[in-house]
Structure formats: structure tokens, C-alpha cells
């Protein structure tokens, strides 16, 4: 399937054009994207560190996960909402960028994992091995998203 026409259409959208033609819009959106990334890091790591037996060790996992969940969702929603206009403004560049495709694949996996397997698993205390595996998968997926995201700028 040839997706290039679709990406050309993305690039020509009103929103994409407005962001591309503005001097300051892209940088400003990018700043919000970075701030949301920081919040995502906190929301993911507080729980994953706990699963590894580190960080807030004396907190029960289900309660901690419940308290953190709104911040996780807030950061993911903000990241997507700021990511879309940036993508639209340079969709054709993204089409030819390998890191962009890695990022999108990993992003789908990371979100799916966070909101299905991990979320369900965190509803009760788990055996240490299971908890550690959850944390490692979660951190690896999100790290992959962040890493490949940064490399869209380089390749």
C-alpha cells in the first residue's frame, strides 16, 4: 500500500500549513510536547520503579497506580494533541524518516500495553517477578518511543 498520497494530504491540511508557515508555532508546540514528556516520565517511572521494589516502596502498588493514572492519561493526551500538529506540518519528511515509523509502532504498543495489560495487572499486588517484568516492558517501550521520537530530527 502506498501511503505517500495520504501523507501528502496530511501535509496539505490547514493545520499542517498553519504550523509550517508560522515561525514560532512549531517551537511553542514542541515545548509543550517536551513538558508533557517530562510528566509522562514521572507518571511511568514512579509506578515502574515501585514495581521494581525501588522508589515509593512502602506504598501499595494498586493504590499508587490509581493515584498516578490521571497524570499518565493527562500526559499521553497532551503528547498526542501536540504531536499531531507537529506531524501534520512535516508529514512528508516523516514519511521518509525511519525513526518516525519506529516511533509510531512503539507508541501503539506502549499505549496498548499501558492501558490493557499493565493497567489490569496493577489492580492488585503481583509476585515480584511478574511485577519486575511489567516494569521492564513498560519502561523499554516508553524509552523506545522517546528515543526514536528524538531521532526523527536527525534522520
Amino acid at each position: 500500500m502506498d501511503l505517500l498520497p495520504l501523507f501528502q494530504w496530511f501535509e496539505a491540511t490547514r493545520l499542517g500549513t498553519v504550523v509550517r508557515e508560522s515561525l514560532w508555532l512549531f517551537p511553542v508546540i514542541e515545548c509543550v510536547h517536551l513538558l508533557a514528556l517530562s510528566l509522562l516520565g514521572g507518571a511511568v517511572l514512579v509506578v515502574d520503579l515501585r514495581l521494581l521494589g525501588l522508589g515509593l516502596r512502602s506504598q501499595p502498588v494498586p493504590e499508587l497506580a490509581r493515584k498516578i493514572q490521571p497524570w499518565l492519561t493527562l500526559s499521553v493526551v497532551t503528547l498526542i494533541a501536540t504531536g499531531i500538529p507537529m506531524f501534520l506540518s512535516e508529514a512528508i519528511k516523516c514519511y521518509y524518516s525511519p525513526p518516525f515509523w519506529y516511533k509510531m509502532g512503539l507508541l501503539v504498543l506502549a499505549i496498548a500495553f499501558a492501558y490493557t495489560v499493565r493497567r489490569a495487572a496493577l489492580e492488585q499486588e503481583r509476585a515480584p517477578l511478574m511485577a519486575k517484568m511489567l516494569a521492564v516492558v513498560s519502561m523499554s517501550l516508553w524509552f523506545g518511543v522517546g528515543f526514536s521520537g528524538r531521532w526523527i530530527a536527525f534522520y
Binding site: G41, V44, L45, W151
Partner: protein, 169 residues
């Protein structure tokens, strides 16, 4: 005191040129710097949100600070090292950049804010450790920290754009 001759000298050192011109080294350092935000600012934000009374309610403040700040410190060290290398890769450009200067001042202010917090209201943390809404001075400290670090990130990002570059060559 005029730092410019030193900055010029630094800019011309072989190490500085090597990072600047490297295809792999610069992106790797840059990526480390950005991703460490997740660890450093992520942990700081969790403490600040707790101080503001909006996040991690029910977890004692001393526990949030005691258990998460070591991770934030580890993140800070990695941010400082990768940041110093980024500076080293183009000192002349950074030096003349207004965002770089504002960023450095803001980092100093976050340090002052943290010290004031630890030396004053945090000394009496036992009396408000479990409060869902910490005392005003703690909330102010959390708010200042959050705003200043957001400012640091914004300036750091803006520094990469060459809008106000003043080449003092």
C-alpha cells in the same frame, strides 16, 4: 570579567570540534539530555505536585521527597554531564544566546528555591507530612519549582533555534 577569550579558546579545542562535527556523538548526547528529563523532571514534578496538594495525595511528603529525590539527583547528574558536553560542543554559540543565559539564571533560582524550602518549611515537615494540602510556604515552593523548571525546559528548547543568535566572532 571578560569570558569571551576563554569561550573562543574552548570553541576551538579539538574535543569541541569533534562533538560538533560528529554524526553520531552529538545526537547521542542530545538524546540522553532530552530523555533524562523523564527521570529528573518527572520525579521533581511528582514532588512538586504533592507539595501543591494535587498529586500523590495520601503519600507522606517526606516519603515522596526521601524516595524520589535520589532518583531526581541521579537524573540531574546525567543532565548536567550531557548538558556540559552540549555546551562544550558549541560554547561560542551558546554564550551569545539569550535563552542559554536565561536558562542558566533559572537553574540557579531553582537551586535557591530548593535550599530555602529545605531550610525552612521542610524542617517542620513532621507537622504537615500527611496533610493533603501542605502549608502555604510549601505550596509556593512547589509552584516556583514547577514554573522555573518549565521555564528551563522552554529556554533549553528555544536555544536550539537561531532566532537571536549573535555571532560574536
Amino acid at each position: 570579567m571578560d569570558f569571551l577569550p576563554f569561550i573562543r579558546w574552548l570553541d576551538a579545542t579539538p574535543g569541541s570540534v569533534a562533538i560538533r562535527e560528529s554524526i553520531l556523538l552529538y545526537p547521542v548526547i542530545e538524546t540522553t539530555h532530552v530523555l533524562m528529563l523523564c527521570l529528573f523532571l518527572g520525579m521533581i514534578a511528582m514532588l512538586d505536585l504533592r507539595l501543591l496538594g494535587v498529586g500523590l495525595r495520601g503519600v507522606p511528603v517526606s516519603q515522596v521527597a526521601g524516595r524520589l529525590l535520589p532518583w531526581a539527583l541521579a537524573g540531574f547528574v546525567l543532565m548536567a554531564v550531557s548538558g556540559a558536553l552540549l555546551f562544550y560542543s558549541g560554547p561560542l554559540r551558546a554564550w551569545g544566546n539569550v535563552f542559554f543565559r536565561i536558562k542558566m539564571v533559572m537553574i540557579l533560582l531553582t537551586g535557591v528555591n530548593a535550599l530555602v524550602f529545605h531550610w525552612t518549611v521542610y524542617q517542620r515537615v513532621v507537622s504537615w507530612d500527611n496533610d493533603a494540602r501542605p502549608p502555604l510556604r510549601a505550596r509556593v515552593a512547589g509552584f516556583c519549582s514547577l514554573m522555573l523548571w518549565c521555564g528551563v525546559v522552554i529556554c533549553g528548547r528555544m536555544q536550539a533555534y537561531n532566532w537571536f543568535d549573535k555571532v560574536s566572532g
